[in-house]
């Protein structure tokens, strides 16, 4: 591949120290190009959040990375010490969290929470950081941004808080934004707007993004490229349109069939057939046997 890369993950493996070294990630590789949204899809426990946390250097103590490399720009992240990583990520990577209700500090005003990074990493004065924050709130179509800046989080609705968090994520013009299921905590009507908003902000700021979700419908709306995981192993990856319209792997096919679409309503839930699951399990067992044996 010759296209420029913003982030690449190469052969990342991780095990759980909680479950007798059970594998959590199995030789995961993926590449995010500048300005593209890369979807990380899979059912619960597939390892999506583990990948996101590994990029941020925040793997839980009981998860151990055994192999692989994470390269942002020209820097390998896993070999940095905590301090170097902090400085690098602080300015270049941002997170849009899952639950807007808990991701803002309840005892700090919105203004303080939107401007602290700008002042710390970009040398902004209080005044210029404030102006920048107001611009960003404007970009996420927040009404009365001046008033919102003076508010504490509890004075804002969930949707408004997620807008604040999205605005804040783009404040430092990061190269990469990581969004871990940013809409699952919101109600359905708000979800769509928030997805559109993330897309618009990402396009405007030309930011690369990793978008974690278990919903192929969301992937279809927002992602340029997808990596599909099952139990920590990449099952299929490619451009969104290719993967959704011409799925190659049986697991992908089953998932695509199970996802409701406006032109093809689904009656109830279509489970992934047992035969497909068995095939996936066999594939993973084969992989584990090859690496351990």
């Amino acid at each position: 591949m010759s296209e420029p890369r913003l982030l690449s993950i190469e052969g990342l493996s991780a095990v759980s120290d909680r479950d007798n070294g059970a594998p959590i990630l199995r030789d995961v590789s993926l590449a995010v190009a500048p300005g593209e949204i890369h979807g990380l899809v899979g059912e619960s426990g597939a390892g999506k959040s583990t990948i996101a946390r590994a990029i941020l250097g925040m793997t839980p103590r009981t998860v151990r990375i055994t192999q692989g490399a994470i390269i942002l720009g020209n820097t390998e992240l896993l070999s940095l010490d905590a301090r170097q990583l902090r400085r690098l990520l602080g300015a270049e990577v941002a997170l849009i969290p899952q639950d807007p209700l808990t991701a803002l500090n309840p005892s700090r005003r919105i203004e303080a929470q939107m401007t602290d990074g700008l002042r710390m990493w970009k040398g902004h004065s209080a005044k210029s950081a404030r102006e920048r924050a107001l611009t960003l709130l404007d970009e996420v179509q927040m009404r009365e941004p001046e008033r919102v800046m003076r508010c504490y989080p509890h004075e804002l609705s969930g949707g408004m808080r997620q807008r604040v968090l999205i605005a804040a994520a783009f404040a430092l013009e990061p190269k990469l934004v990581i969004a871990d299921e940013p809409t699952t905590a919101l109600d359905v009507t708000v979800q769509k707007q928030i997805l559109k908003l993330i897309r618009a902000m990402q396009a405007r700021h030309k930011t690369g993004a990793i978008f974690v979700t278990h919903d192929l419908g969301v992937v279809a709306q927002i992602c340029d490229r997808v990596t599909l995981l099952y139990q920590g192993k990449v099952m299929e990856h490619g451009l969104t349109a290719d993967l959704l319209l011409k799925p190659r792997h049986a697991y992908t096919k089953a998932l695509v069939r199970a996802t409701p679409r406006y032109d093809r309503p689904v009656d109830g839930l279509i489970p992934v057939p047992d035969a497909v699951i068995a095939a996936c399990r066999a594939e993973i067992a084969g992989f584990d046997g090859a690496t351990h044996g």
Binding site: R86, L89, G90, N105, R108, M120, H154
Partner: protein, 334 residues
């Protein structure tokens, strides 16, 4: 808001009345006759009757209570039997000493307790946490008066660093115009007097502050541990802030509320602790005078002092409630 304030004021009045009643009854049913203790052998029965009347100890008990209460409402707490001086004046002289002592101890306890909690949180799962947990355990296991004795042995006898008794060294000849010696010396900028008053405070303040600091450290560290796993802390880490900054700017604000509420409650215990600590260090405060009063069965003085303490307790609770509301944005705007 106004209704709330009026309600609180009424509750305070009721509580104080209760305290007055309890003190009065307890002191009357306790054995010992103050008049019998003060009269000389040659006193006539008429003298005794006159003395009783003078100190408000004649008439039936309800009568005495009513008279005492009525006088108090006019700011008259009676005359000390043993010191033969106005109780209000006596309390006015001694209360400032106790307040200086108690507030210095509170300040030291807060600074020390918060520092310990922050250090313990920063050193989570490393040596720092173990040291802090051990230290708070030790501080907590030893009560204030034992600390007082240990400190006397340590800094008074073994390594005589600090004076062991009194508020100031009379030989320095410092003149004070108010009963707040330390405060006055600070405000007027008398360096020597500040050092002298502070040196006299070191040991009694530490004796009172160390156990409270341990309580503050324990509770605050628990609250910080809880705050440090919240999502907003994760987000602050992604923003690249240092752990120290995250603990002090993100977690502390959310963790400190319950700690301050508890500190307020504990401060009333600290006030109670001044009685024995002042005694040990011959510190001329209210507590020391209370013990003299009890020894001499000086009913008006004891009643006055106990009511003063009761008032301080009630005031403390009020301040705590207001602080907790002030610190929590949700309550503040609610």
């Amino acid at each position: 808001m106004i209704a709330g304030a009026a309600h609180r004021a009424a509750m305070m009045a009721v509580t104080l009345f209760g305290v007055a009643l309890v003190v009065f009854v307890l002191l009357r049913v306790a054995p010992g006759d103050p008049i019998a203790m003060m009269i000389g052998p040659g006193a006539s029965p008429a003298d005794i009757v006159a003395l009783r009347a003078h100190y408000g100890l004649d008439g039936s008990l309800p009568m005495q209570f009513a008279v005492w209460l009525g006088a108090m409402l006019h700011g008259d707490f009676g005359t000390s039997i043993s010191l033969r001086r106005d109780v209000v004046a006596l309390i006015g002289e001694r209360l400032p000493a106790t307040l200086e002592l108690a507030f210095c101890a509170l300040g030291v306890a807060l600074v020390l307790g918060i520092a310990l909690a922050v250090i313990g949180t920063l050193g989570k799962r490393r040596a720092g946490e173990a040291v802090v947990d051990g230290a708070t355990g030790l501080l907590l296991a030893i009560p204030d008066f034992v600390w007082a004795l240990l400190l006397v042995l340590l800094f008074g006898v073994a390594v005589p660093l600090f004076p062991m008794s009194g508020r100031v060294d009379p030989s320095l000849g410092a003149q004070f115009h108010t009963p707040f010696y330390l405060l006055e010396a600070l405000v007027t900028g008398q360096g020597a007097a500040v050092r002298d008053a502070a040196a006299h405070l070191v040991m009694p303040v530490l004796a009172l502050a160390l156990p409270l600091a341990a309580i503050i450290a324990r509770v605050l560290k628990g609250a910080l541990d809880e705050a440090m796993v919240q999502d907003y802390v994760l987000l602050a880490r992604v923003k690249g802030f240092s752990e120290l900054r995250i603990v002090t700017r993100e977690a502390l604000r959310n963790a400190i509320g319950p700690t301050l509420a508890l500190t307020g409650v504990q401060f009333t215990f600290l006030l109670g602790g001044t009685v024995i600590v002042e005694r040990i260090f011959s510190f001329p405060g209210l507590g020391n005078m209370a013990i003299e009063g009890v020894i001499n069965r000086d009913l008006p003085l004891i009643q006055g002092i106990v009511l003063t303490f009761g008032f301080l307790f009630i005031l403390t609770n009020l301040v705590v409630d207001l602080t907790v509301v002030g610190l929590n944005p949700k309550l503040r705007h609610g």
